[in-house]
């Protein structure tokens, strides 16, 4: 399980898990699950386009995920954020459909982009993935404090001179970056469950942001490692294990939070258990 090509799989998967844990923490904090789904999924069109014009897949993924992030950021400033995200996604997928129909590339390639091929990673793919991962984590480290403040308390952040929209754009760019490096490895559909499941579960276990961030990375690593091991022994696709492990982790987190609330109803009111959540903009809809 730890020999030959499997070593690459372990290394790459661990890198991906760290990035997904870090970026996903902010995805969940900001309630941007849809963006985390739309950018990787839409970037898939970029891969199809890259095949068509004959450049490296990662270039196509990078260009399209950045374009998608930019479109969501620009249009979402005035419009309804989720509707704009959906539109950006389908527009990119429409282009993807066009690229696929124009090129002679056929279905297995699509399948591996959607569901990933972590067990088939070549050593040459290791370096770019690692480099992008470092950049991604560095960017998050640099904007960590303003991003955290703007995600949790948007108004307070604005009062301190943090432009909420600029932070949104920066955050979208980080998601785009994470997409570019992770999609060739784990596939568009499953980077998403990695970015949602572990951070959401982590937030149920602790209220402190730094702890939740670390826990989120730890849970993502645990998810990926167990998924690889299970996938290796059972031969079932790794995506299945990542997806179900994420859902199970989230369910355990919710149970844990419910049990803790019941134990000390006074000290932990429903409000106190979500102190890190951004204030509701549409209070009317809660």
């Amino acid at each position: 399980m730890f020999s030959g090509f499997m070593v690459n799989a372990w290394i790459v998967a661990s890198i991906v898990a760290v990035v997904a844990g870090v970026v996903g923490f902010f995805v969940v904090l900001r309630g941007s699950a849809f963006v985390a789904h739309a950018i990787p999924n839409g970037a898939f069109a970029g891969a199809a386009g890259a095949v068509l014009v004959g450049v490296d897949t990662i270039v196509g993924l990078g260009v399209f995920s950045l374009l998608g992030a930019l479109a969501i950021g620009l249009l979402g400033r005035r419009g309804r954020h989720d509707a704009v995200t959906a539109l950006a996604l389908v527009t990119m997928l429409g282009l993807g459909a066009l690229f696929l129909s124009l090129s002679s590339e056929y279905e297995p390639a699509v399948y591996s982009l959607l569901f990933g091929e972590v067990l088939g990673i070549s050593p040459t793919e290791l370096a770019p993935t690692a480099a992008l991962a470092v950049v991604c984590v560095l960017v998050v480290a640099v904007i960590y404090r303003p991003l955290m403040l703007s995600s949790v308390l948007g108004e307070v952040g604005e009062a301190r001179g943090i432009d909420r929209w600029r932070m949104e754009l920066a955050f979208l760019a980080v998601v785009a970056l994470a997409t570019t490096m992770t999609v060739p490895v784990v596939g568009t559909l499953l980077i998403f469950s990695l970015m949602i499941g572990s951070p959401a579960a982590a937030r149920s276990f602790t209220d402190r942001p730094e702890r939740a961030l670390l826990l989120s990375v730890a849970l993502a690593l645990a998810t990926v490692w167990s998924a690889i091991a299970l996938s290796y022994t059972t031969n079932y696709p790794i995506g299945f294990f990542v997806g179900s492990a994420s859902a199970v982790l989230y369910a355990i987190g919710r149970l844990w939070a419910a049990v803790m609330r019941r134990r000390s109803p006074q000290s932990r009111s429903t409000e106190a258990s979500h102190p890190t959540h951004p204030p509701e903009r549409h209070t009317i809809l809660t």
């Binding site: 539109l87 389908v90 429409g94 559909l189 997806g243």
Partner: protein
């Protein structure tokens, strides 16, 4: 008449059986999607609308595995997913996207498993591609009655619940105070959405189903604040985008590279996107004018 239109309609457009089926199904779907979409956009559940399309992959591949037809698979998984989302907490605005995301992630994991199991038995991964990019030109016309019936059921549900649903969408507090069962309505709406998207994704692909649900409705809601008018406008815009897309896709068989048409979904989605951009123009000019008079 046909002579003048010949630059637009390539020969054989109106004689083609596939085109006729596509036009009928496209129209029905666009109208229902427009009506349902207005509520989807107002409730901020575009992600759920998108997710049900993807979850269709799970249903389709699962049904394929047990040898059932795709539609029951789509419907069963759509309904299950709607129930799971409701359970995780899609009814609260703050947990909305997260609930959708958790369910979607789990469903996609299952899809990966089903496709894997299916491909070891039958050696095909075609289901993913068909569902994602399914083409409206390949539907057999025997689907028309089925689509019409399901569309009618969804429309009927919407007609029955539209007034309390609207109230509970705009102001859940007032709705609760008046004794409207807000949560039940939300769940009913979610089920209708799941069924409608299952149908759309199966016939025209999940890209188009999301585009038709969200795009025309979002554009219509920028043009008018009245829900009734928005429903009408969204239906009209959706049908227009659909028809134009079908015409262009048909014509594209004569475009380079020859003998290989461009996909309908590309045209319809692009038209819908342009419509949405145009719908923002009045507000944009308003802002510029306001900016000029102040500055």
């Amino acid at each position: 008449m046909s002579h003048f239109l010949s630059p637009l309609f390539e020969t054989g457009f109106f004689q083609s059986e596939a085109v006729r089926t596509a036009l009928i199904i496209g129209t029905v779907v666009a109208i229902v999607a427009g009506a349902l979409g207005v509520f989807t956009v107002m409730r901020g559940q575009s992600f759920a609308a998108e997710a049900f399309g993807d979850i269709g992959t799970t249903g389709g591949s699962g049904a394929f595995l047990v040898g059932a037809g795709p539609l029951p698979g789509f419907l069963v998984f759509g309904v299950l997913a709607a129930g799971a989302m409701e359970l995780v907490g899609i009814q609260r605005a703050r947990g909305r996207d997260l609930a959708t995301g958790i369910v979607l992630g789990a469903a996609l994991g299952l899809a990966a498993l089903f496709l894997y199991l299916g491909s070891t038995i039958h050696n095909t991964t075609g289901a993913v591609v068909t569902i994602l990019f399914g083409s409206i030109f390949t539907i057999s016309n025997s689907m028309i009655p089925l689509v019409a019936v399901l569309a009618a059921v969804v429309a009927l549900i919407l007609l029955v619940i539209h007034r309390p649903l609207l109230l509970s969408t705009v102001s859940p507090e007032i709705a609760t105070a008046r004794g409207v069962p807000v949560r039940l309505l939300g769940a009913t709406y979610l089920l209708a959405l799941a069924a409608a998207v299952a149908l759309c994704a199966l016939t025209i692909g999940s890209i188009l189903s999301t585009a038709l649900l969200v795009g025309p409705a979002a554009a219509a809601l920028r043009a008018t604040r009245r829900a009734g008018r928005a429903v009408l406008l969204a239906g009209l815009l959706g049908v227009a985008a659909m028809w134009l897309g079908i015409v262009l896709a048909y014509d594209s068989y004569y475009w380079p590279p020859k003998g290989n048409g461009w996909p309908v979904s590309f045209f319809v989605v692009t038209i819908v996107f342009v419509i949405y951009l145009l719908s923002g123009v009045p507000a944009w000019r308003e802002r510029r004018r306001a900016g000029r008079t102040i500055g």
